[in-house]
């Protein structure tokens, strides 16, 4: 196995340990202060993977589904480490780590990550900006979806008066979750806008148009959600459900387009 794969395997294992220990701590009714350390370790390995692949490609490593998934996991981890302190950091990590494991686990499946990545020649800066900004945006939007799931769990427990679980005790307050969720959506929306603009400026093939139209549809979905939230207001449940559904939908769209 070559170096890049080793980095990705190590990162996935660290995230898996972080998730496992976090879930165990929550189950035992304790905080999990080490989750952030495991995820930080996973993050360093992700950087290792991306830098090796970047050197091999001589470009931003976003040229096969495996690289895109790994880059997405890196972006999600990055935003978790950046915004985590606004939440109770360990618990957001407990929710984030499994998503990182899933993305990277998929990337490690045979055939998903190109074995011998070819050097990219004649790369276009708009194309690279489009790819990098879009995947960064999806990192923020993925974390928004994670926060949305956390809200939905907390909301259900509060509504049904099930307040005994240690998970309930460890979840951050409703208002803080919703504020963080909305900020992540704005950040993701902003980065996605740059990605879309760069996408229109890059040279196009027929398949690129289909991809760009799908990206535009996703962008419209997020902007519509944010506009409705800002202008009319939206319940926490609808905002969270929309953030989760839009993210899942966008993944499904890009898997087929």
């Amino acid at each position: 196995m070559v170096m890049d794969r080793w980095f990705l395997v190590a990162s996935t294992l660290l995230a898996l340990i972080g998730a496992g220990r976090g879930v165990l701590a929550v189950h035992q009714g304790k905080r999990s202060p080490w989750t952030v350390a495991w995820i930080f370790g996973a993050f360093l390995c992700q950087i290792g993977f991306l830098s090796v692949r970047g050197q091999l490609r001589a470009a931003c490593p976003l040229n096969d589904p495996g690289e895109i998934l790994a880059f997405l996991a890196w972006s999600l981890t990055l935003f978790y480490l950046l915004v985590g302190p606004a939440y109770r950091i360990s618990l957001l990590g407990v929710f984030t780590a499994p998503v990182v494991v899933i993305f990277q686990g998929l990337a490690l499946l045979p055939g998903v990550l190109t074995e011998n990545p070819q050097r990219i020649t004649g790369g276009n800066p708009w194309h690279e900006t489009h790819s990098a900004m879009s995947v960064l945006a999806y990192g923020a939007l993925a974390l928004a979806a994670v926060a949305g799931v956390m809200f939905l769990v907390l909301d259900k427990q509060l509504k049904e008066h099930h307040l005994k679980s240690s998970l309930f005790r460890n979840l951050p307050p409703v208002r803080e979750l919703l504020i963080s969720l909305e900020r992540l959506l704005w950040l993701g929306g902003f980065l996605l806008t740059i990605g879309i603009v760069a996408g229109f400026l890059m040279p196009h093939t027929a398949s690129a148009w289909a991809h760009l139209i799908a990206a535009l549809a996703v962008w419209i979905g997020y902007i519509a959600l944010l506009t409705v939230k800002r202008v009319r207001g939206l319940t926490g449940r609808r905002l969270s459900l929309s953030a989760v559904l839009l993210f899942v939908l966008s993944l499904v769209v890009f898997a087929f387009v």
Binding site: G29, L154, L158, K159, H161, L163, K164, F168, R169, P172, P173, V174, R175, E176, L178, R232, G233, L234, T235, G236, R237, R238
Partner: protein, 336 residues
């Protein structure tokens, strides 16, 4: 040198007896000094709270010191009947274990309460400053504080709120986080709503609105809590801005209907809204709780949550006592 304790608490003495032995927090050091003299002991610490007064001593002979102090306390307080009936005597290991239980809140009226830890620390600090402590009590108290911390961190003896008011405040914090940005409306100026609202204010609630059928009473309560009085007919307007509504009117039927809240939703931009209904019969139509952003808790639910917390704390007693015994045995304390 022996460690011993003489004390009375809410279980052994009625308030009219306890108040005779109460010592103000500013006089604890002075009282400890006096106790050393009265008991002819080497060291003393006086702990005095609303539920207990306890004297901890280190002396050569505990039995003689017990008799001396009881006689002199009876003379001093001019209690005609035998005060020994109200006092408990504990010595050596038993005294140290009792002090641990006091510090951990196991001997408190509200099991597991945390305030007692600070009160004992203050009592010890006062005695230390007054020069009433020495090798025995210094070591015992410092070790007991360590054990107290261990018990509180390793068990859930202090977890969960055990009163309706505190459960409501904890829930408000779970929904809104810091309450400094939260506004509260009280419907009906009853005692329970006053207590709950005061708890919210003490945790930083931004402002309070009081709506009551008697506007004078609303003004009175609002003034008491630094809030604003609202005419009862105007509460729907205030609903558009507040985050928490505490209701305890004496109305024979529901006064907050689903339609009232539906009307305010748009203006509130669908922000979370927490209803605390502590009235019987209930003031808030249960259908209000079906609205997405509304969290509705009535008196039964709050009482049930408080009771569950009390039960959980009771289940922790044995574990706390096990840790205390284990830690005391491990330590070679003087005066045992």
């Amino acid at each position: 040198m022996e460690l011993f304790c003489l004390g009375l608490n809410h279980r052994t003495a009625p308030v009219e007896v306890r108040e005779k032995f109460a010592v103000g927090t500013t006089k604890l050091g002075e009282a400890a000094h006096e106790m050393v003299r009265l008991a002819e002991a080497s060291e003393a610490v006086v702990i005095s709270t609303c539920n207990r007064t306890e004297f901890y001593f280190a002396a050569e002979n505990a039995e003689i010191a017990f008799q001396l102090i009881e006689t002199r306390l009876a003379e001093k307080t001019q209690l005609n009947h035998d005060i020994a009936l109200h006092f408990y005597r504990k010595s050596k290991f038993e005294a140290a274990r009792h002090l641990c239980e006091v510090v951990c809140g196991l001997d408190s009226m509200m099991l597991g309460e945390t305030e007692i830890f600070g009160q004992v620390k203050q009592a010890y600090g006062s005695a230390l400053d007054a020069g009433a402590t020495g090798v025995v009590l210094n070591k015992v108290f410092q070790r007991v504080f360590g054990i107290g911390k261990k018990v509180r961190s390793e068990t859930s003896i202090q977890e969960g709120s055990t009163s309706v008011g505190n459960v409501a405040v904890d829930l408000a914090e779970k929904i809104f986080g810091h309450l400094k940005d939260s506004e509260v409306m009280i419907l009906g100026a009853g005692e329970m709503s006053r207590i709950t609202a005061q708890s919210l204010v003490s945790r930083g609630a931004k402002s309070i609105f009081v709506a009551n059928r008697s506007f004078d009473r609303a003004q009175e309560l609002a003034a008491e809590m630094g809030g604003s009085a609202v005419r009862f007919d105007d509460w729907q307007d205030v609903l558009k801005r507040v985050d928490v509504v505490i209701s305890s009117t004496g109305a024979p039927h529901a006064i907050v209907m689903r339609a009232d809240v539906e009307q305010a939703r748009r203006a509130r931009k669908y922000r979370p809204l927490f209803f605390i209904d502590i009235a019987v019969p209930r003031d808030i139509d249960p259908a209000v709780g079906e609205i997405e952003e509304v969290y509705l808790y009535d008196i039964d639910t709050l009482e049930q949550l408080a009771e569950e917390a009390r039960s959980r704390r009771h289940l922790q007693i044995e574990e706390c006592q096990r840790i205390i015994a284990l830690e005391l045995v491990k330590t070679n304390l003087p005066g045992m």
